[in-house]
């Protein structure tokens, strides 16, 4: 029997059951893959790296490259300096990346390896060849979550490269947040269609959705170029999408190079996408082309066609905070009632923001940052919902409670194709609408007795 969650809710202090988050390095690894010609490097024992690669492989169905310092018992006593030096030698000799992005693991954090000095020494000793780069970030997993890791590595890109070099005053920086390659592609398309010059970082499109070419390439063609990362310091403004994953890089750019910034929600759903487009208009003075207005119009059209099916339905949502915030708002705009909302990532802002969004729609919402799926399941047992939205792990709850389920977020381990379709922008909104309605109506069809089984719905 898979349903082993009791209904009554009890205080748990020491225990996490069925987590709704994972550890920092995997987020850092994912962000690193969004730099052109970059090999992510995990400074710790090989197990973590193997897990992070497997997990990302299961989600993206793409080869995930990353090297490891392969700590042994010795390194955990004497420090991992020697391992890192050997690793850098091997990496540049054999895999020849342009840049190595190092993140730590719990182990190297706990023994306290000082990465900046190790990297500096390696540079002085000629281990890092001329014209090649090594950057790093600290990602202890006993702090934050995979989203924090993503944010930290994105900030490291700024820290190592951003310069006020007078490059291009009318370029804007866009930090897309922890989203799919297809989402990054969609954000670029929208900004591009508005005729705006931009630097998007990180950018995993064309890295983790690369086409079949009958060859294996360590470094597929995508990823933000180092030249562009340098120029971010001279951009006009930074738009950071998603507070949790993207604010860190923006504030750092502001501190270092005085590039002002705006933090927006991830453009998921219609209102958040509107705000994104409005922000683009505001900071560049450019108007969206008709094609974008048409897209928006089509979303509204679909919403009107569907509204009666969505209205008043109760929903539970979980996942990464930035995604969940925007999704919750979208649900509210569809007339639905998001009653249980959980993210595994810690952060008080999440609870505040969600409560603000559902105010006047749901009286006493259950909202928790730093929660887990066990708690979410308990909430659902106490107040059932009509729809569950979240990553693959939600399938246990969906099955136990027999709830229609829409897969959304990271990771999705049991379906294929999700990383090719965006959930951001107006196109993303259309796709989400279709998925949600299909889930609800498939369920209605399945449950209907013959007498109520209809052809036209």
């Amino acid at each position: 029997m898979l349903n082993m969650t009791p209904k009554e809710i009890f205080e748990r202090k020491a225990l996490r059951i069925n987590p709704a988050k994972t550890c920092q390095p995997i987020g850092a690894l994912y962000a690193s893959l969004g730099i052109h010609n970059c090999l992510p490097h995990s400074h710790g024992s090989q197990g973590c790296c193997a897990y992070h690669r497997s997990h990302l492989t299961r989600h993206y169905k793409e080869p995930i490259m990353a090297s490891t310092s392969s700590f042994t018992e010795g390194s955990s006593v004497f420090g991992g300096g020697a391992n890192l030096r050997q690793a850098l030698k091997t990496i540049f000799q054999v895999y020849d990346p342009e840049i190595v992005a190092v993140h730590t693991t719990c182990l190297s954090e706990t023994i306290g390896d000082d990465l900046p000095s190790l990297i500096k020494k390696a540079r002085e000793d000629g281990i890092i060849p001329e014209g090649k780069f090594v950057i790093h970030t600290n990602t202890p997993s006993y702090v934050g979550s995979h989203v924090t890791g993503f944010s930290n590595m994105t900030a490291a890109m700024v820290k190592y490269f951003a310069k006020k070099n007078g490059a291009s005053k009318d370029t804007i920086n866009v930090v897309p947040g922890y989203v799919e390659p297809s989402d990054m592609r969609e954000i670029k398309r929208l900004v591009g269609q508005m005729g705006i010059k931009y630097i998007l970082f990180p950018d995993t499109s064309d890295v983790l959705d690369s086409p079949q070419r009958a060859r294996f390439s360590m470094y597929p063609k995508g990823g933000v170029k180092i030249e562009d990362l340098k120029d971010t310091g001279s951009s006009k403004i930074t738009l950071s999408l998603g507070k949790f994953a993207s604010e860190g890089a923006a504030t750092l750019l502001d501190q270092m190079c005085e590039v002002p910034y705006k933090v927006l929600d991830l453009p998921i759903g219609i209102a958040a996408t509107d705000r994104f487009i409005e922000a683009l208009i505001e900071v560049t003075g450019k108007e969206p082309p008709e094609s974008i207005t048409d897209e928006r119009g089509r979303v509204v059209d679909i919403m009107t066609d569907m509204l009666q099916y969505f209205h008043g339905k109760k929903v539970a949502v979980f996942g990464d905070p930035d995604q969940v915030i925007s999704m919750t708002e979208f649900l509210v705009h569809l007339g639905m009632k998001p009653v249980h909302i959980v993210t595994g990532t810690p952060g008080k802002y999440f609870e505040r923001r969600i409560k603000e969004i559902v105010k006047g729609v749901v009286d006493n919402p259950n909202v928790k940052a730093f929660g887990d799926l066990f708690l979410l399941h308990q909430w659902i047992k106490n107040e059932p919902v009509d729809l569950l939205i979240g990553n693959t792990y939600g399938k246990y709850i969906a099955r136990a409670e027999d709830i229609p389920f829409v897969r959304f977020g990271f990771p999705i381990l049991d379906r294929i194709g999700h990383s090719y379709f965006p959930t951001v922008g107006y196109r993303g909104a259309m796709r989400l609408l279709e998925k949600m309605l299909d889930a609800l109506l498939d369920r209605q069809d399945r449950d209907a007795p013959d007498s109520k089984f209809e052809l036209v719905m």
């Binding site: 082993m4 009791p6 202090k13 020491a14 225990l15 996490r16 059951i17 069925n18 987590p19 988050k21 550890c23 390095p25 090999l39 710790g44 024992s45 090989q46 197990g47 973590c48 193997a50 897990y51 992070h52 690669r53 497997s54 997990h55 492989t57 169905k61 793409e62 080869p63 995930i64 490259m65 090297s67 490891t68 310092s69 392969s70 042994t72 018992e73 955990s76 050997q86 091997t90 990496i91 054999v94 895999y95 693991t105 719990c106 182990l107 706990t110 202890p140 997993s141 006993y142 702090v143 979550s145 079949q212 070419r213 009958a214 060859r215 294996f216 360590m218 792990y393 246990y396 381990l413």
Partner: protein, 447 residues
């Protein structure tokens, strides 16, 4: 072939026929390599995970628990406790002040909630560093609750996956010996080293039943603590595959005098051989007759079906890169049975003896590798013009990027590949992959 092999790794790659055979193995991976290898914790988690009525609590930061949360299809015939993810989710504060209190509280709480038959507590790297004494906590909680709590000393950095298998075996031996062994048949075995992926253990158990042999416990696929506690009452341990539970079989031999044999349930010859060797062991006419009848029966069904596949697959080329080398032996034979040629074979954790055996049974020109990396593998696959690649999670997309078919023979298989029916499933899977029209759309392969 040496173009892509790291200088430091040349000792771990060998092309059969090119000079005398010598292969280094069981080395630590070279720092900086994109290794496919995992850690001690991973090894022990994999082995113990399918014990379905035990609690599996991971003492460490969250990632270690998440990445091992129900990722293998080790099926259970009733309880499902093993499929939940329990973690102490260590935070900064715990790392500084120690996590023993938190662990104890978590363990007590879970035992009260779920009343498991036993509890395994896994230590991860960080626990090794901060020095929490999980053994002491387990002892205290066992005393308080009467539930056997077993520490699994699986700090990741202390070695590779193989070391994890041994840590798991050391944990398992604690479970054995408590149960009542009255009434166990003189013709009885334990099944070791099978994880019931895609329900495979149910196939094998059925064979034993038809032979007239009692299966006392299955360790660890579809495993139950009560059965395992009676394992010392069986007359023979049958260890499947190379690595995982061999150490346990050795411990049981020493402690309880139970002999063991190593078998493989993959492929026709090895499957038949496994059953005959078990029958031989018991020296009983009836059992031998049952075994012969069973095997004849199965082969009569299987061969005509295989012939069809063989006609089209003959001459196609296969590459194998798997966790344990023992599985590779069976795979080589299975491909031969389909008329296919194995041109590359490698493993993550093979031992010296394993590789010697591989060298003995492969054709000249076959590449043999230990602990390989994606760059090497992809070069070899191209060079050897492979039609199908057999491997694990991380190898699948590499094969697809090259425009080559793939078969998962590791944790993620969805079809049972053991037993006679498993050979049929395997042939069917290889066939449907290799012959798929999809490959016609792959851009023309270069060079």
């Amino acid at each position: 072939m040496n173009g892509v092999v790291l200088k430091e790794r040349t000792g771990q790659v060998y092309e059969k026929g090119a000079g005398p055979f010598k292969l280094q193995c069981n080395l630590d991976s070279l720092p900086g390599a994109v290794s496919q290898r995992a850690c001690v914790f991973c090894g022990s988690r994999v082995v113990l995970y399918p014990i379905t009525d035990a609690l599996h609590l991971i003492h460490g930061p969250i990632g270690c628990a998440v990445y091992t949360w129900d990722i293998r299809g080790a099926l259970s015939s009733d309880r499902e406790l093993h499929r939940f993810s329990f973690s102490t989710d260590l935070r900064e504060k715990d790392v500084i002040f120690g996590g023993e209190k938190k662990l104890e509280a978590a363990l007590l709480e879970l035992i009260e909630r779920y009343n498991p038959e036993a509890a395994f507590v896994y230590s991860t790297c960080i626990v090794g560093i901060i020095g929490d004494d999980i053994g002491a906590v387990c002892k205290r909680v066992s005393k308080k609750t009467g539930i056997k709590c077993i520490p699994v000393q699986s700090e990741g950095f202390k070695g590779n996956k193989r070391a994890g298998y041994e840590a798991a075996c050391r944990a398992l031996i604690n479970l054995i010996g408590d149960g009542d062994i009255e009434g166990i048949s003189p013709f009885s075995v334990n099944i070791l080293g099978d994880f019931n992926l895609a329900g495979e253990i149910w196939i094998i158990k059925d064979y034993y039943r038809r032979m007239g042999i009692e299966v006392v416990s299955t360790i660890t696929g579809d495993g139950r603590v009560k059965d395992i506690s009676r394992a010392h009452g069986a007359k023979l341990n049958v260890v499947q595959c190379s690595g995982a539970t061999l150490a346990l079989a050795k411990m049981m031999k020493e402690k309880y005098g139970i002999p063991y044999i190593r078998v493989s349930y993959f492929g026709v010859d090895d499957m038949a051989d496994a059953l005959y060797r078990v029958a031989d062991f018991f020296k009983d006419r009836q059992i031998m007759e049952n075994t012969k009848a069973l095997i004849n029966d199965e082969l009569n069904k299987l061969y005509p079906a295989l012939k069809e596949f063989r006609r089209e697959l003959a001459g196609k080329r296969a590459a194998i890169y798997v966790g344990g080398a023992f599985k590779a032996f069976s795979l080589i034979k299975a491909f031969r049975l389909l008329g296919m040629k194995v041109v590359l074979v490698g493993s993550q954790t093979g031992t010296k003896e394993d590789y010697e055996e591989l060298e003995a049974i492969t054709d000249p020109g076959t590449i043999i590798v230990d602990d390989s990396n994606p760059l090497e593998l992809s070069e070899f696959l191209k060079e050897k013009k492979v039609d199908i690649f057999v491997g694990g999670v991380k190898e699948r997309p590499i094969a697809y990027k090259l425009g080559i078919g793939f078969c998962d023979h590791n944790h993620e298989r969805k079809e049972a590949l053991e037993g006679f029916i498993g050979m049929y499933n395997f042939a069917k899977e290889v066939y449907s992959t290799v012959m798929s029209p999809v490959w016609r759309f792959v851009p023309r392969k270069e060079g």
